[in-house]
């Protein structure tokens, strides 16, 4: 069974060393050796999840710049030694990640290398589903964060705020689909309101209609009525709450940076968001990769730098942990269109004042491949388990349906 594979590979997780001074003794402690959840975890901790949609090419993100094999298989799209932002004598950041590199130098970025899972899926949709439901082997109706929320608010408990968990986008990602916690999707602050102009009686009547809406024959009707109630009341609440918070950093105008600016408001105001899902894409670089990926990585790194400057100015940077993910990495060799096709393992980033910065896990070998693809060394569910137990203070096993050895980045 696959369980053996990921346990043994997760046990190989080791600190490669080099620059992260605070990153010592970061070896996984085997299975289920975590402290009892809830004991030492601040209930005010916040998780921000960044989806890098489309399949981010890991080798041009965390670049094995000293490996000749890398330059050999990517003649037209490699990051050269003069371009790379070196982290140690083996790897470095894509130069577009200069904002992230500043955070890294401050010890606030954990780079988790070679993240994946057994029998990787190369379909965007299925792989995204796998990552967002944390379930490679069988379909799961609810997302990994949705299941966390369901456990946290079990037995009819209500979140203190309806913005406890939010998705900043027009559609709810699979990760946040929960069975009994409603997660709002907020495309933009000013659009999140029931607007009737001067006709306040119409607005009031809409509230009466939604509050009194009945379930019916279709299972959809109860769902629509409940969502209408949340939407109707939520807009007014949200605007009042977020007005309390002023961003104290300059964010770029791109959509991702603007999502982070709103995330800071949701976290720092009485909206009190504890889970925020943001997204950036598309990283599906089958052709002309360098221009497209570098632009997006620039948005990512610079956006996160602004975000943490803002949070620090409000004294919140140690309360907020941000992790990235993408549905898969890409093939080792470039294709004929100066791009890369769908691949497997990739690095992800965990950022925050409460993060033990450094490099975690093995960089995948570029010569020991699985049919031209990288082999993973860290199961992505070990990253989730670490975040759930050590940052959010819940038992990861009850969310993930299995024990996964934690990493030491928190």
């Amino acid at each position: 069974m696959k369980r053996t594979t990921f346990v043994s590979s997760a046990l190989s997780v080791a600190f490669l060393g080099g620059t992260g001074s605070s990153a010592l003794a970061q070896v996984a402690g085997g299975t289920s050796t975590l402290p009892a959840f809830g004991s030492s975890v601040d209930p005010g901790n916040v998780l921000v999840v960044v989806q890098m949609g489309g399949g981010n090419d890991g080798l041009n993100t965390v670049v094995p710049w000293s490996d000749d094999a890398y330059h050999r298989v990517r003649p037209a799209i490699h990051v050269t030694e003069t371009q790379v932002l070196k982290l140690n004598d083996r790897i470095g950041f894509n130069p577009a990640l200069k904002g992230l590199n500043e955070l890294y130098k401050e010890g606030r970025v954990a780079v988790v290398q070679g993240v994946g899972y057994p029998s990787p899926n190369r379909s965007h949709f299925e792989a995204t589903q796998i990552w967002e439901t944390a379930s490679p082997d069988r379909p799961q109706q609810y997302g990994w964060l949705g299941r966390y929320l369901d456990k946290r608010f079990a037995g009819g408990a209500k979140p203190a705020s309806m913005f406890e968990a939010v998705s900043l986008g027009d559609t709810l990602p699979a990760a946040l689909v929960a069975s009994h916690v409603e997660v709002p999707a907020i495309g933009a602050l000013n659009a999140f309101a029931y607007n009737t102009g001067r006709d306040l009686a119409s607005k009031q009547s809409a509230g009466v209609l939604y509050d009194g809406a009945k379930a019916g024959q279709s299972p959809y009707l109860a769902m629509i009525a409940q969502t209408a109630r949340d939407a109707y009341h939520g807009g007014d609440v949200l605007r009042k709450q977020t007005a309390e918070f002023t961003n104290k950093a300059t964010y770029a105008s791109n959509g991702f940076a603007q999502q982070l600016a709103l995330a800071a408001k949701l976290i720092g105001s009485s909206a009190g968001s504890k889970i925020v899902f943001v997204s950036i894409g598309s990283f599906d670089t089958h052709a002309g990769q360098r221009a497209q990926q570098d632009r997006l990585l620039g948005y990512l790194g610079d956006g996160l730098l602004s975000f943490y400057q803002d949070l620090a100015a409000h004294g919140l940077d140690k309360k907020v942990l941000t992790m990235t993910f993408s549905e898969f990495g890409r093939r080792v060799a470039q294709n004929a269109s100066n791009g890369t096709d769908h691949g497997t393992a990739m690095p992800l980033f965990v950022v925050g004042g409460g993060v033990k910065g450094g490099i975690y896990g093995e960089h995948p070998s570029l010569t020991d491949l699985d049919r031209g693809d990288l082999k993973f060394s860290t199961d992505f569910r070990a990253v989730y388990a670490t975040v759930i137990e050590r940052w959010l203070g819940r038992n990861a096993g009850e969310v993930l349906g299995g024990a996964y050895p934690a990493l030491a980045f928190v």
Binding site: H124, F125, E182, G187, Y194, A231, N335
Partner: protein
């Protein structure tokens, strides 16, 4: 009955099957019951984009069979559409994505062949291609292709899609050559377009990709077959071997029972209800196979069937944002699409020509979240408000069916009768009595409240705005988010 294998692992509609029991034996037999206004409105919503009260009455008068025939085999010439937007102009992506979107939305609004346009939208969601990678002009070409093949035989459609310039760009088959195969298109043909996950192997993808080699685009972005790029060797796809080209692979794929179930299920989810029973899928798959993969005959069977007119199928599926928006515009009699509709549809979660991925829109429960519902409500509120002339002299957006004067002429200055007329027209009376009471209270509020300081009874000074307000409230009811 045969083993029905359909992968539903990523189908968000699983779990939203309506309660009750399918009568499998007669589900696809022709419906012979009463065909009234509610049946006609149901048919128009599912097989078109809804319509005005007059449209519903006209379809009801045709009877079920006549109504379905008129949708499947329209004889009258279509509305006159301009050769717009100019194709040369469309190559500037900065300005012209919206022009292409409005060009299509206008066709949805004004066509008198609504089922053809509805199937065009179905295929857009099925072969989901995005303007983000392809640019507007090839997307307009692809939409025209979907319209041409809207109700054709599926293999003809899939063959045409294989050599469609937008698709050649979108899934990289233009880069697929014997010397350097690109599997992207072959994989999605199997996973998303024709078979579904779990019904093919990685080797099938690789072999099919070889058969698709050679199809590319030339410098004018027209499809071109370059023999030197084609791999003309023997391929083995789904257990069948031969010196296959693209059309041969299409023929192998459609001959698979799993394909027939795959498409049957998707059509049932689109037209009937979520998560259809395996017996129903199997029965429609047989119809599809026996028809020679004829989409018109398959869809016709659905639209005439007992299950389509059953209580379980009635208002059983959330409408998509495009269905909601075009349905509302048709209901009020609008003849032009608001210029900002593409932007509003993006907020609602369905920007035409820009699906979130090649998987298309998930649909079902995924249409409904707090922000998409607010976007729907505010679209309606803004639209209906704009049908009144502005106090600043702004002209009203023409909407001949939003006619408070006609309403008062018919119903009198009587809040109860006006509310009755509105809920009958908008939602075919599919509301409970407390909804009517709330609408009456809104129309005729006489008691001061937190928001209504100086309430007025319904009268000459306020009926214009009140009737529009009650119309918007009714359009924004939860039940009107269901088709």
């Amino acid at each position: 009955m045969p083993d029905v294998k359909i992968d539903t692992s990523t189908d968000p509609q699983v779990g939203f099957r309506p309660p009750g029991t399918l009568v499998a034996a007669t589900a696809l037999q022709p419906y012979s019951g009463r065909f009234g206004q509610r049946h006609a409105a149901h048919l128009l919503r599912r097989a078109g984009f809804g319509g005005s009260e007059a449209d519903v009455a006209r379809v009801a008068a045709l009877g079920m069979s006549g109504a379905v025939d008129s949708l499947l085999h329209p004889t009258a010439p279509d509305a006159d559409f301009p050769p717009y937007p100019d194709v040369a102009v469309l190559y500037d992506p900065k300005k012209n994505r919206q022009a292409a979107q409005l060009w299509w939305l206008d066709r949805m609004l004004r066509t008198n062949r609504p089922l053809v346009e509805k199937m065009t939208l179905f295929w857009h969601g099925h072969f989901a291609t995005s303007v983000q990678k392809t640019q507007p002009a090839p997307m307009v070409g692809q939409i025209n292709l979907f319209r041409q093949f809207a109700l054709a035989r599926f293999p003809a459609l899939l063959s045409a899609v294989t050599r469609d310039p937008a698709m050649l760009i979108w899934l990289d088959n233009r880069a697929n050559a014997k010397a350097h195969p690109n599997e992207n298109y072959a994989r999605e043909v199997m996973e998303l377009f024709a078979l579904g996950l779990g019904n093919y192997t990685e080797d099938d993808v690789k072999e099919a990709a070889r058969a698709f080699t050679g199809w590319t685009i030339d410098k004018d972005r027209q499809a071109a077959f370059v023999p030197a790029r084609h791999d003309d060797g023997i391929k083995t796809v789904l257990g069948t071997s031969g010196r296959f080209d693209a059309d041969d692979v299409v023929a192998v794929i459609v001959s698979q029972p799993v394909h027939q179930r795959f498409l049957a299920r998707k059509l049932l989810e689109f037209f009937v209800y979520s998560d259809p029973e395996p017996e129903l899928v199997e029965a429609l798959a047989q119809v599809y196979a026996v028809s020679g993969f004829d989409v018109a005959r398959t869809v016709g069977t659905i639209l005439r069937s007992n299950v389509f007119y059953s209580q379980r199928a009635y208002r059983a599926i959330p409408n998509s944002p495009i269905e909601l928006a075009i349905g509302t515009l048709r209901y009020i009699g609008a003849q032009t699409v608001p210029a900002n509709l593409p932007y509003q549809l993006a907020r609602m979660g369905q920007e035409p020509l820009n699906p979130p991925s090649v998987k298309g829109w998930d649909g079902g429960p995924a249409w409904i979240n707090t922000s998409t519902l607010l976007a729907r409500f505010n679209f309606v509120n803004g639209l209906i408000a704009q049908t009144a002339p502005g106090k600043d002299g702004r002209p009203a957006v023409p909407a001949p069916n939003v006619a408070p004067d006609d309403m008062v002429r018919r119903a009198g200055m009587n809040a109860a009768k006006i509310a009755e007329t509105i809920v009958a027209g908008v939602v075919q009376n599919d509301v409970t009595s407390d909804v009517r009471a709330t609408l009456v209270a809104y129309l005729d509020s006489q008691t001061p409240s937190a928001t209504v300081q100086n309430p007025l009874p319904l009268g000459p000074e306020n009926y214009q705005d009140k009737i529009r307000g009650a119309l918007a409230l009714t359009l924004n009811l939860p039940v009107n988010q269901l088709d």
